[in-house]
Amino acid sequence: MNISAAPGPGDTPRTGHRATGRDAESDHLIDLITRASRGHEDAFAELYDLTSTRIYGLILRVLRSADHSAEVTQEVYVEIWRQSARYDSSKGSVLAWMTTMAHRRAVDRVRSVTSETARDEKYASRTVDREVDHVWDGVEQRLDVERVRKGMGSLTAIQREALTLAYFGGYTQSQVAQLLKLPLGTVKTRIRDGLIGLRDALGVEA
């Protein structure tokens, strides 16, 4: 999304899934982060309210420890507040910016505490199946969710598995390769193909 250079709503018809509601939502987040960058704590509070179930949920999914997740979520939001003036809408949506930061922090934490927890490869190999299935269980049947689920469903099993282990599991591509007993090159390609498939299924525009 490039708000600053994007044509107005009347100039060009919007294509794909980016219906007006999603655009409005996305613009609202930009407005909130812009106000936050000027020190408006109320705008930041609203940003928190609108995004925290996704940010916390993602961090929890990767870390699987409520204590660690609360701590990392707090760090992430403080960092978002600090960096708010440096968000650049020409480089992506607010949500992508925040999610990227959150995921990176969560993965960093996973790798720094790996030795303390049971997240070793033996444990992992036993839970690969659950890992992949779990993501699909008990998810609210909302439209957004349904869309993404369908997108994931359009991938091949191996693409989905590789992407899930890497993104939600927090494993490196080499670990994913070991878990799936596949050559590294294959895993690399599957992860990328998975993202391409999902991108096309969701009609994501950069």
Binding site: N2, I3, S4, A5, D11, D27, T34, R38, Y48, D49, S52, T53, R54, I55, Y56, G57, L60, A66, A70, E71, T73, Q74, Y77, V78, W81, R82, Q83, A85, D88, S89, S90, K91, G92, S93, L95, A96, M98, T99, T100, M101, H103, R104, V135, V139, D144, R147, L163, A166, Y167, F168, T172, Q173, V176, G185, K188, I191, R192, L195, V204, E205
Partner: protein
């Protein structure tokens, strides 16, 4: 397609080890195709978070909003040529054409700016690095100028670092307090109806007063926090005076073992050794 292009998915999924990651980042600076994919995959991955939504613990909201109070948002990133920098300023006025960004942003799709794409996916590290480099340059210049200036700059940098460490320590202290097994939260209402809380852990010997949007205590008046030990007069909590507004948080450390109550009063003299008015909020432990 060369081998390195293939790592773009793993890069976005944070599935590269540190060496692979820096190798890919170097490649990214010179590869518009990968830059574009990184951005698209970033949006795609963000959508994945809809599948795992989970409400955070309710207390986290107050903790986050209290922590940011002590953190100053960084200024927009200055570049060599601010004229051409597509900064957050352009989103301040989203009206199309009103503030036409310079040509560089418009043909974004055709000619992405590769060097900057790294920051989109990894703002923290990249920015921190740039700041470090800038600080290093400044320091080097200062040393060249005079030792005195160098010392002053060093002190300044150190001070910034100390501030940052203090913030981190504070956030950690909050988490520790909230996570203490005997942590108790006492919710109270101020006379104007605002809700405030006292969070107390006797095992940590720490407590925190938390309030959001406190009423203005009045002209030249402040709020003060007191600890009331068993059988003696109230003891002022160090640095215990605070204003209305908020979120506010006031720490209390030590002496909780024999404290029977905590209280907040409105005072004229911020340094008064004992309360001169009735408490506006009090809690019996």
């Amino acid at each position: 397609m060369s081998e390195i292009h293939g790592a773009v998915g793993s890069y976005v999924a944070n599935a590269l080890d540190p060496d692979e990651r820096s190798e890919f980042q170097r490649h990214l600076e010179a590869c518009p195709t990968c830059s574009r994919e990184v951005q698209e995959f970033g949006e795609t991955a963000a959508e994945l978070s809809t599948l795992v939504q989970e409400p955070p613990p309710p207390m986290l909201r107050a903790t986050v909003l209290t922590s940011i109070q002590r953190v100053r948002p960084l200024p927009p990133l200055s570049t060599e040529d601010p004229q051409t920098a597509p900064g957050p300023r352009s989103i301040a006025d989203p009206t199309p054409g009103a503030e036409k960004p310079p040509a560089r942003t418009a043909p974004q799709a055709a000619a992405p700016t590769p060097a900057e794409h790294g920051t989109a996916t990894e703002p923290v590290d990249e920015l921190a690095l740039r700041r470090q480099r800038r600080t290093a340059r400044l320091l080097a210049l200062a040393v060249a100028a005079t030792v005195v200036v160098a010392l002053a700059m060093g002190g300044w940098v150190l001070n910034l670092r100390q501030q940052r460490q203090a913030q981190v320590a504070d956030a950690a202290a909050q988490t520790q307090l909230l996570a203490a097994p005997d942590a108790k939260v006492y919710a109270k209402s101020m006379p104007d109806g605002t809700h405030v809380s006292f969070v107390v852990s006797k095992s940590l010997d720490k407590a925190m007063f938390v309030g959001a949007n406190l009423a203005d205590p009045g002209n030249d008046l402040v709020y003060k926090l007191w600890r009331i030990p068993s059988g003696t007069k109230p003891v002022p909590v160090p640095d215990n005076a605070f204003d209305g507004g908020g979120p506010r948080q006031v720490w209390l450390q030590g002496g909780l073992e024999d404290a029977v109550a905590l209280a907040v009063t409105v005072e004229k003299d911020p340094n008064t050794p004992e309360p001169t008015t009735d408490p506006v909020a009090a809690v019996t432990l």
